[in-house]
Symmetry: C2
Subunit: 365 residues, 2 copies
Amino acid sequence: MKNTALTQFRDTGTLYLSAPEAAELVRRLGLPHCLQHMAQHIRADFLRWADFDKTARVAAHSKDGVIELMPVADDHRYSFKYVNGHPGNTRFGMSTVMAFGVLADVDTGAPLFLSELTLTTALRTAAMSALAAQTLARPDSRVMALIGNGAQSEFQALAFQHLVGITCLRVYDVDPAASAKLVANLQGSGLHITVCQSTAEAVKGADIVTTVTADKAMALILTPEMMEPGMHLNAVGGDCPGKTELHGDILDAAKVFVEYEPQSRVEGEIQHQPADFAVTELWQVLRGERAGRDSAEQVTVFDSVGFALEDFSALRFMMDSAVRLGMGERIALIPQLADPKNLFGMLAAPVSVSARLEQIATTAQ
Amino acid sequence: MKNTALTQFRDTGTLYLSAPEAAELVRRLGLPHCLQHMAQHIRADFLRWADFDKTARVAAHSKDGVIELMPVADDHRYSFKYVNGHPGNTRFGMSTVMAFGVLADVDTGAPLFLSELTLTTALRTAAMSALAAQTLARPDSRVMALIGNGAQSEFQALAFQHLVGITCLRVYDVDPAASAKLVANLQGSGLHITVCQSTAEAVKGADIVTTVTADKAMALILTPEMMEPGMHLNAVGGDCPGKTELHGDILDAAKVFVEYEPQSRVEGEIQHQPADFAVTELWQVLRGERAGRDSAEQVTVFDSVGFALEDFSALRFMMDSAVRLGMGERIALIPQLADPKNLFGMLAAPVSVSARLEQIATTAQ
């Protein structure tokens, strides 16, 4: 596969998957299939955690938001994601989070695959959450509270339905229109959905609580009195310095799992906890090296911030799927040179028929 | 301009300039024009050095090469470049260096412009070298030695001809085929070119010495006995840890200028000098805050490694030019959502006519 991808790059350029094509790819394969396979790709990559060159993301903060680059690599493939976070964007009719990324060949540096990652990030985040819950939640979990019904909420709902076995959703958002949108989008999904009037009402009796709120600095979405024995908390919305969703006492009383500890200490729910606050990296649980949930009564927390390796896995899945389905188009992001030592040579001759015709037309005038 | 670019992004997507189109753009405007304007853009950005959020590049090293991300931002624009360095790539018919990059809007995170940067990097590096020489070389410089006649050499030659006033080139490469390629490419340029048999022969009597060799770890391209009073050295090829071109004694006897000191201490010719070795950042000279050349006899060295801000300037120039010439194409790298809070909605309907027809065909079967 690896050499095939490189040969295709050399012969025809970088494979590019646009946002509309990514959506079409997901429709063709089906969202449950994509969530399932993305979770499998993430699991496979997390199981070989030590193979990866990991770095915390590189962030450029400004007054209205942040732009981040998230690179990661193993011996064969390199990936990075560009992603922004600008809570005010919806005022301009733009998404809060926009993303794209590249999968490249480590041996040559060739950018094999350029893809939209706005939609894909929503899928991989949901797949990651479901993978963590498969490992950490009680196996008999059927009821999930979903707090925050924004852009990511439906993906979380369907990932937990298809990968974890959730049948009942109890949803709440400060904006009733968001919940109404979720209900409309999930019509026909088979999920039994109850719209609640408060977080406390939604959380009551839930086996799993997913928080995926945005836009709120140091919000206290979940407080200790809402907790019930054996709950699994999937805390997705707290993902940058100053942005958290859980009361500190919840973390103190629970067993907390993270993706990549150095990044989570800065960005996650645990950012307000002491530096020696005990956490377990999820890959250790997946590999059977450390325990997950210790008892049916324990409260577990997946303090998710999103790690570059998940995008690496997602890009692998999207590229393999696009190649298999013959989707995407080849683009000349990198020059195809007859002689790679002669870069200047590409200025010598017109490269396109249209340019040549234009030149002829100009000469004829 | 700024709001126009954002409006165009919202209405029609990211502007994409492929490698063939970048070459066409350079042909249309003329290489001298592009070099001139790129140098002006770099100068303008270097003059407002303090406005930029600067970081050293993020590198992923592997056994055959390196892949780097180079981000930089001011209050309005953010850019990053992806660039690799794999000296063995020419064996596979691929370029040693391949690059692309993005210019984004800081207020919203929108990726306004995606461009090839393989060709563009060669132009911006040459423009940067010429800008430094305009500032540091003796004004009466007419003869340049050009050591290393690879992919970047012609761009350096033409930048120094058109921006610095060089009329005579003395070229040398360990590979005679490289020099022959350079001579062929520069036929009709008006430059008087002498192919030499050694570095020493080429350097003798030169006003400016440009070294742009590749592939050699800790090479000693220039040695102290080759130096003549008043020379300006444009050291381009030494640009990563373990890759240098100048003998340390040359640096000790000369006045050394760099782009961004923290990066140059690691990557530049000065990587082997003590941590307190005196250097001057070029922006300080451009702003008149520190002296350039102190006398006609002094040897000056521009220890160039390539800094993210030069790519920022280059991306600005290429985007403005592409917009002005109506070049490039708009791509849907980011979803255009009717309701930005409803990302899930993009999965609801087929997005293309072909997909719709396919669906109809499938249903009809």
